[in-house]
């Protein structure tokens, strides 16, 4: 459904020296700088997949999504979405994709969402009966019956996002791009949106690409992730494999008997791993996977432990390390 081959986007940006003199000089001379936002990215997403696109701010996630949605032209490379080149903006193509941008409202601010939906019905030429069925289904799934006739600007952020989702999915797109769909939402609203997206995927099987800074979105929704760093995809695979590939360490958490929490970290412990924190009687200790048994025994022997657990590193920490280039 989505195929990208060597997709590259380079922006030319103007650089301006700071201060008033810099501003005056920029009236006459401007320094141009090339910014490589996406570098030779290749991948494929199939029907029914939700792929998480994760990366730090400025890594190139949104640029990649914009190219695949046909908003911007690539500098080089090729992409086919549903068989179309996105940036040619064929109407047939645009009738079968959708883009949700969590940071940008797409509905008409001063009107009830219901009015906006009617306009979208016309834009996508949805037959009356289909429109009624789809709207009823989406409204029921997202539980927003009472808010349909309220001006969009008077809705809460969570309600507004639900309305945006309805607006985006009314035409039953085969490809959906979700750019930070839960940004700024409270935990309840985030959960509701995630549950909805999973249920929608089960019913309609679109291909979805999701960008989010919330690891819970990624863990809950995506089986596969692509990690993008400085415009390059540095990992593309199953989320579970990230842990196997990059989680070379485990975390030992030991609750100590001594109330003051103070204890001697032996040479042996230091040699095996690194103490992450030691506060209020709790020691967090990171050790290589193959050393974990001996390290746990050493902690039990040296530290007067009344409870101990051994955990995988959380996915957020692993990905953060990959962002920073420490995961290879």
């Amino acid at each position: 459904m989505i195929e990208a081959e060597g997709l590259t986007k380079t922006f030319v940006v103007h650089k301006k020296a700071p201060g008033l003199m810099g501003s005056v000089r920029s009236l006459f001379v401007r320094e141009k700088v090339e910014k490589h936002a996406v570098r030779a990215v290749s991948f494929r997403v199939d029907e029914g997949e939700i792929v998480g696109l994760v990366g730090a701010n400025g890594a190139g996630k949104t640029t990649l999504v914009k190219m695949l949605a046909g908003i911007i032209h690539p500098t080089s490379g090729e992409a086919r979405v549903l068989g179309y080149r996105p940036w040619e903006r064929n109407n047939e193509f645009r009738s079968r994709i959708a883009l949700i941008m969590g940071q940008k409202a797409q509905l008409w601010w001063d009107l009830p969402a219901a009015d906006g939906f009617l306009l979208l019905k016309e834009i996508y030429r949805i037959p009356d009966a289909d429109y009624r069925t789809r709207l009823a289904e989406l409204v029921r799934m997202l539980e927003v019956e009472k808010e349909l006739n309220v001006q969009v600007r008077r809705l809460s952020l969570g309600e507004r996002m639900k309305m945006e989702l309805i607006a985006t999915l009314l035409h039953q797109p085969r490809v959906v791009y979700l750019d930070e769909p839960t940004i700024g939402l409270d935990l309840t609203a985030q959960r509701a949106i995630r549950d909805f997206l999973l249920a929608y995927r089960e019913r309609h099987r679109p291909a979805m690409i999701l960008t989010s800074h919330y690891m819970e979105d990624i863990e809950r929704l995506c089986e596969r992730i692509m990690i993008i760093r400085e415009g390059e995809i540095v990992y593309d695979g199953q989320l579970a494999d990230v842990k196997r590939t990059y989680a070379t360490h485990k975390i030992i958490t030991a609750h100590l008997r001594r109330e003051d929490g103070g204890f001697e970290v032996s040479e042996d412990l230091l040699a095996r791993g690194a103490v992450l924190s030691e506060e209020e009687g709790t020691l967090r200790y990171e050790v290589p996977r193959e050393e974990v048994t001996q390290a746990a025994a050493a902690v039990l022997e040296n530290c007067g432990v009344y409870d101990l657990s051994i955990d995988e590193m959380d996915i957020g920490t692993i990905i953060e390390r990959i962002f920073k280039g420490r995961g290879e």
């Binding site: 640029t63 949605a69 908003i71 645009r94 009617l118």
Partner: protein, 270 residues
Amino acid sequence: MSPRLFFQIVSLEARTKFSYRVDFWVNAVLSFGVELMVAFYLWTAIFEASGSTSIGGRDIQQTILYYVTVLLVGRFAGGRDFEGTVQSDIYEGGLNRYLVLPFAYRPYKYAQSLGKLVPVVVQVILFGAIAIPLLGLASQVHLTFASVAMTLAAMLVANLLFFLMQFPLQVTAFWADNVWSLLVAQRLLGQIFGGLMLPLSVFPGWGQRLLEVLPWRFFFDFPARVLLGEIGVREWGLGMLLAIGWCGVFAAIGQAIWKRGLHQYTGIGI
């Protein structure tokens, strides 16, 4: 874009504009009222100071009636709510939202600008019904079915021409982030050479002949004179053909710049 969708966008925008009640009344009362008062006292003073009974072939009553008419019909071409909307879509990235929808952006924006005009129509009718009798000009207005129909057609073409002339200027925002200066320059040219600031009949003969073929007079002078019965059917027909020709020219320019600009578009943010 289907006519049904086009009119639905017009209706949606009109409803949005009507939801701003304060804006509606402030525009209806203050904006019209102030402009009319300025014109009334300015032209009265000019006539008194010059001591002449006629300027540009019009006496004081006719000049004021011309100005009121220009003020009213000019609102249709003014499109103040449209000014800057394409530019800000490009500058702020709002264009992203439209580029993924299966329709053409320019007709959508035009439908929006027509929708924003609906409250203006109501304002013009309200204000015209009050101002013309109040200034004692009612006896000079001789409306016929034909003059009203010809004026409506002229105003619609004026509105389309204004939109098509603004569009290429606004899409230069793909290259120059801020194009307000261009829009202001365009508005000023329209007001000076279109007949809003002063009747075109005060220009010298060669200037009037030149302005006859340029596009600006179709914003104000042409529809106002059609309504006042100063333009016959033949002249109206030729004027309409010329205005439609200008629409074609600016539509082609706008399309070429738009297509090129989209290659430049960054969609804001990386």
